[in-house]
Symmetry: C4
Subunit: 269 residues, 4 copies
């Protein structure tokens, strides 16, 4: 469905009918009866609208999306599928998924959704997911509130470089690609570097510093958010998910290493 600016549609919140120009202004949200529900209905278990709930259920058991925190988004060509805000992640259903067209999101203040679930709110993570899709060509982006990620950012606060998590000489580092538009994976002796950005009161305000971190560390597949969690992406759902798992593994290991007095960086060649 392409939305024409001449169309009149019902606003999601006020339930009144407005012109597209007013809806595009972002004050109102369309809920026309034809809400493009076909975009989230598929018998294919690998369809993004089916995959996101399945992934979120798994993430809930891992403690990544506790108390409706965190989220996930999948990009399929120009369509972006997004978990909504405030939903119990282990109970999410395909009909809870938002859909938007990536190429039409010129102004982040005026987000247009091809498909909006009738009684939900879009996630504040949306602009951060979109940054991973547009700046890195990611196919999937995951945001967790994992306690291991939060603890790593807290432990870094007292270190000389508080804005960079570094670890090397751990096999699981090989679970990460070398970086944007590069072939192959990191090696065992390579140092994995994950930048840390400061948290902000409103999650969408993280976007700018996330993009700055992406520019400074063009090959990173993740950005830690202090006292908040982590954003992890990958070219495919498979890569985003397995890189997120590997990273959480390394964060947990790093916290345990700290408890046992073991350094994160070592000098093995």
């Amino acid at each position: 469905m392409t939305v024409h600016s001449k169309c009149y549609m019902q606003c999601h919140r006020c339930t009144r009918v407005w012109s597209q120009s007013r809806l595009r202004a972002g004050i109102h949200r369309m809920t026309e009866s034809n809400n493009n529900d076909h975009l989230v209905k598929s018998d294919d278990s690998q369809h993004p609208a089916n995959l996101i709930p399945e992934l979120c259920k798994k993430f809930w058991t891992l403690g990544w999306v506790t108390g409706t925190g965190g989220g996930a988004s999948i990009r399929d060509d120009d369509l972006v599928y997004l978990a909504p805000s405030g939903v119990q992640k282990e109970l999410m259903k395909p009909e809870d998924i938002y859909v938007l067209e990536l190429s039409k999101q010129l102004d982040p203040k005026q987000r247009i959704y091809l498909r909006s679930p009738p009684s939900l709110k879009p996630s504040q993570c949306t602009p951060l997911f979109i940054a991973a899709f547009t700046k890195r060509g990611a196919g999937c982006c995951i945001h967790t509130h994992s306690q291991w990620a939060v603890l790593v950012t807290l432990l870094l606060e007292s270190q000389s470089n508080k804005n960079l998590f570094e670890i090397n000489n751990i096999e699981q580092i090989k679970g990460f690609g070398k970086g944007y538009q590069k072939q192959g994976a990191l090696g065992y002796h390579d140092t994995l570097r994950i930048p840390v950005i400061e948290n902000t009161p409103h999650e969408e305000d993280l976007t700018e510093s996330l993009e700055v971190a992406m520019d400074k560390y063009p090959d990173t597949y993740a950005v830690l958010v202090r006292r908040h969690g982590v954003y992890v992406w990958g070219e495919t759902v498979h890569k985003a998910k397995t890189q997120c798992e590997s990273l959480d593994y390394l964060f947990q290991l790093a916290v345990e290493m700290k408890k046992l007095g073991l350094p994160w960086l070592s000098d093995i060649a």
Copy 2:
């Protein structure tokens, strides 16, 4: 079913038949053949009698209701649905649920149940759940024995203000509403404050100090009980459950922070 004081019914414990006036005195419990079983029978998965067992099963896997400890209650208008005492929480069934009318519980010493499971005992948590319903208009109240909650109360014992858990500058704090009859959620920089009351030998004797804590902290959605656990409520099942998850996340984080020498309060603006 409305119970008339002229009715004669069988006592649950002594199996003899008594007048309602004697049953209302609280010495006996009715088990008349018409036990209002229809109140706990529904094909709707969102019916309180179906939701409570489902929630308790989930809570068991989280370690919140180990060894029959803890419990949960849902209020639907004037009807209150309660998990029974002493049942393995992961095995609970809809027919194990107690039901009472909130408006008829004038004297807590004379609890009248619209529906009592034949061979179970009502939970000692009942008066505490009722306090959340009557004083805060809660729609659901959860009681956990989470070890993280217990450890937080133990760690507080040696602190200057041992009756208040405080944490700030953690994203998950945004999982809590601002408070009773207030709109919106706490912010990232806000300090979450959860009062702690001392445990008593009989759980029902906690009611008075729980109510005092509610009066002193009118906006809290939870009260910690020293060396025991936590009571968490919310306007809806969704809010009570997700606030309970967020709180348990913060308790666990707080314990891990203590192990790593990290303070619960920080001075970030």
Copy 3:
């Protein structure tokens, strides 16, 4: 089936036929074609032969019966149902269950099984389970290798009374009955005391010291085994299972308290 001493049956191990007197000598084990398989076949989910596999599957997820360690036994009047040795506990089936008659186990060296699974070995825990059944009238006994139990016994090694785990003023203590042939549960202020016995190379050799500990602490529902695990029993399956859960909760809490410098005993009245 009552086994008569005049019967001739096939030995389980050597596959030759022997008189009952030789089989009773314990050197051989009967595997007659009529192996009383009906004793472990039931459509009732509460039948011991169905309950033991279900419990063991749950215990496996709790880390209590890792690597075939641990076990469980249920007594139904004079019949005792036992998990076998060396089976993956999460995969156990009703046909893996041993059955014996409690009243006929006069000589522990000559164990007679009413029903033996064809290709399994009886558990070395058998005499310890039987001690709980005969000396305490238990209806169920559970043996776990929980790491929390093992760590508690290790921590006790350097304490003045290394043979007694004591904890008080924790709500979960109320999950235990007052003791053998006593009514009611322990109170919040009561001190829970679990004796510790030293491990032996052969598990069956623990029987004597387990019985000594039972005599010294007649009201205990559990005995810790140093560097090994714990035996927990109860009048019913429900009580044994929930007491085992409560105890494991307290062991885990005790280990975490030790890490945080918090004492197990406190002086609250």
Copy 4:
């Protein structure tokens, strides 16, 4: 299917057709239409192609094969079934399994697979699994990235003998066999010794040092890999799996003991 050197088959990677001699050179991989799919299709739940996915799903929940790390292989007489590289282990299917003939793997540089999944890569663990099969007659070999294993190898780095994990006087040690071609299990007082080898950038390069460790400790059923994980094997799937569980239990216990200042070796006789 026996592959004849005169056959021409399609290469897996370049999709062109080559003679067997070229395919055997290891540069190309066959993907002939008859890919021996019957080798991984069975209704028997105990068939290796069904067992490996089931085991890997279980291992994923245990945190052993996070982020596609780790793996498992089963030998059935001369056929070896292998989990592929880079697959989400909890989602693996029978059709993802590689099969090779053990007796035909003379040159490890020229690996011939009887069956290769069309779009997957063989695991770098293959030569290490094969070492367990050929040098120790193992029936199953498991490789985990368990954090407990990694932490144990990190803790050993500062010890006098950094290449050997030793623990004694823990009941779970009885979960291990005495060793290669020996009868019976280790005793409670025996010291379990697991050699540690240094990690290498390419996993297959571990093969030589793994074999050296096997020669030096002929009775070990496991080899730790520093900062990487552990390889565990056994005569059967049952033994490899339960030994791997027992070992992970001991690694976790060892890490907790270190946190609590408890020594791994003690002097109890």
